[in-house]
Amino acid sequence: MRLVVDLNRCQGYAQCAFLAPDVFAMHGDESLLYNPEAAAEQRENVERAVAACPVGAILLELTDEDMKHVPTPDAVAGAAGSGGAR
């Protein structure tokens, strides 16, 4: 999956770093570092992070490969339009 964080909008609440620690990490008190191309098995964690961000700063695009990974009822519904960006 591909992701980008609007760091103008980010205010360092660190919710993403708690929910998807393998993808997002705080660097110092307030800076956020993230992996812009996270592995498919991180999908659920990253989706939680996207939902939890208080300022809505994370843009995520799921690829077809992400959709194939561990399908859950939610993901099947979301997979209708391939590459469902939000």
Binding site: N8, C10, G28, D29, E30, N35, P36, E37
Partner: protein, 468 residues
């Protein structure tokens, strides 16, 4: 009204079967293309980019990628939606025929347009001596390939990294290299890091951050020569103060140049300062007449801003690329009465030495500075810039949640110094100090906001063209 609007049907025709060409396939070009499709553009869309890659994100290249947390090749931008475009990647645009509405490409192809969006951005300013710049181990950092090359050079474990220029990118590179344990020297022509963007007072804070983190910081010096070994690898740099620094990796971080050369002779108002456009992103031609069919967005654009005295601002900011692309795309597909101005308040971020630096407004316009919250010595503060009795900008070090508040102050042209005295203890006092920006005619790494005043009463920010 509706009938009057669609009286000639031109816009409907454009939306249905027009041809839109976007030159520049990076952040601004991609976001503009997405907005066009969102707004119902069903015609043909051509994306032209000189790099062979689909749009990718550049900020990670000087941060996550150098720290080893991400890979340069894996920074492609997520898409908001499918854009169904004809991609011409790896081919630069080389010319524009405004009369024939045609873009020429480097491979000889020509692409016709009904509406053109130019988002060609900037490139890293190269080391002025071509032969020295070609030495193995000498880098600039702007593109994915640059990032990949530097990543590889750092993986080999250099003995010392020399960073030339302590702007935001240079400082971030120095920070990442120190974090990985390499010896780092930073050579800066100005009096302190970040001095062009944030002024001397904040520059001094940045200088202490460099030194405390073990950077060998040299200010007020120029690198006069890079020296290679017989195998063509860089070995040392000679400085204007007579000293020599041995380094096997040199990163040239001297700011950016605007990608406008391909427009030379086209009649469009393009030059080394960028492409002048109106507040609605429509490009000016060289006669100062606004075009109807050519739009500009992102780093290469230069547009007047009502909040900042209608000066033409060019902003090398990620957020500006996104916002201006959106406005340009909207305006390209709108009747004139429905167009919107690009009135984004400049904002940027940088992460270095574990400190989050963020800013809103136009700090280089500021003449005075007041620390409103926190303190400079703790490296945790909000500092506000004043210009002619109003708040013109604010910068935070690890204190970004206050920025929206100051953004509102800037937007409402609130008085400076701000009248509220009780928001925080103020160890540095309540009296503004000079913001201490350097004389803009002294060359340095450029600030990321370039001002070009039009009134002699304004602070003089004379543009000094680069000799190249």
């Amino acid at each position: 009204m509706t009938a009057q609007r669609s009286r000639d049907g031109a816009l409907e025709h454009l939306k249905r079967e027009g041809r839109i060409v976007v030159v520049g396939a990076s952040l601004a070009g991609l976001r503009a293309a997405e907005t066009m499709r969102e707004k119902g553009f069903a015609g043909s869309l051509t994306m032209i980019g000189d790099e062979p890659y689909e749009p990718y994100d550049r900020p990670p290249l000087s941060k996550q990628v150098l720290l080893g947390n991400a890979v340069a090749q894996h920074t492609a931008l997520p898409r908001r939606r499918a854009i169904d475009a004809d991609w011409r990647l790896g081919v630069p645009a080389t010319g524009l025929d405004m009369a024939a509405r045609r873009v020429r490409l480097g491979n000889g192809d020509e692409v016709e347009y009904d509406r053109l969006l130019i988002a060609t951005g900037v490139r890293a300013r190269p080391w002025p001596n071509e032969e020295e710049g070609a030495l193995q181990g000498v880098f600039v950092l702007r593109t994915r390939d640059d990032g990949e090359g530097l990543q590889r050079a750092l993986a080999a474990g250099p003995r010392r990294v020399l960073v030339i220029g302590a702007g935001f990118t240079g400082s971030e590179i120095a920070s990442a290299c120190r974090e990985r344990g390499f010896d780092v020297t930073v050579a800066e022509r100005g009096s302190a890091p970040l001095v062009g963007a944030l002024g001397g007072v904040i520059g001094e804070v940045a200088a202490e951050m460099h030194r405390e983190n073990g950077v060998d910081l040299r200010t007020g010096v120029m690198v006069t020569r890079l020296e290679g070994d017989p195998a063509g690898r860089v070995r040392a740099a000679h400085l204007s103060d007579g000293s020599t620094i041995e380094a096997d990796v040199v990163v040239v971080s001297l700011g950016a140049q605007r990608n406008t050369e391909w427009l030379t002779g086209s009649g469009l108002g393009a030059g080394p300062r960028g492409i002048a456009c109106d507040a609605g992103c429509r490009a000016f031609d060289i006669r100062g007449i606004v075009t109807d069919d050519i739009y500009v967005a992102g780093d290469v654009a230069r547009s007047p801003h009502a909040l900042f005295g209608y000066q033409f601002l060019s902003l090398e900011h990620w957020g500006n690329a996104v916002a201006q692309a959106d406005t340009a795309a909207h305006n390209m597909l709108s009747e004139s009465a429905d167009r919107r101005p690009h009135l984004w308040v400049p904002a940027f971020w940088s992460s270095q030495f574990g400190v989050n630096i963020k800013s809103v407004g136009v700090p280089p316009m500021g003449t005075e500075l007041l620390v409103m919250q926190g303190s400079l010595t703790e490296r945790r503060f909000v500092a506000v810039y004043g210009y002619q009795g109003r708040v013109i900008a604010a910068v935070t070090f690890d204190n970004c949640r206050w920025l929206p508040f100051y953004e509102h102050q800037i937007e409402t042209t609130a008085p400076f110094p701000p009248p509220f005295t009780t928001v925080d203890r103020r160890p540095e006092g309540n009296k503004p100090v000079p913001a201490d920006f350097p004389d803009p005619s002294i060359p340095s790494h450029g600030p990321t906001i370039t001002l070009s005043g039009y009134s002699p009463a304004d602070r003089k920010m004379t543009f000094t063209p680069a000799r190249h």
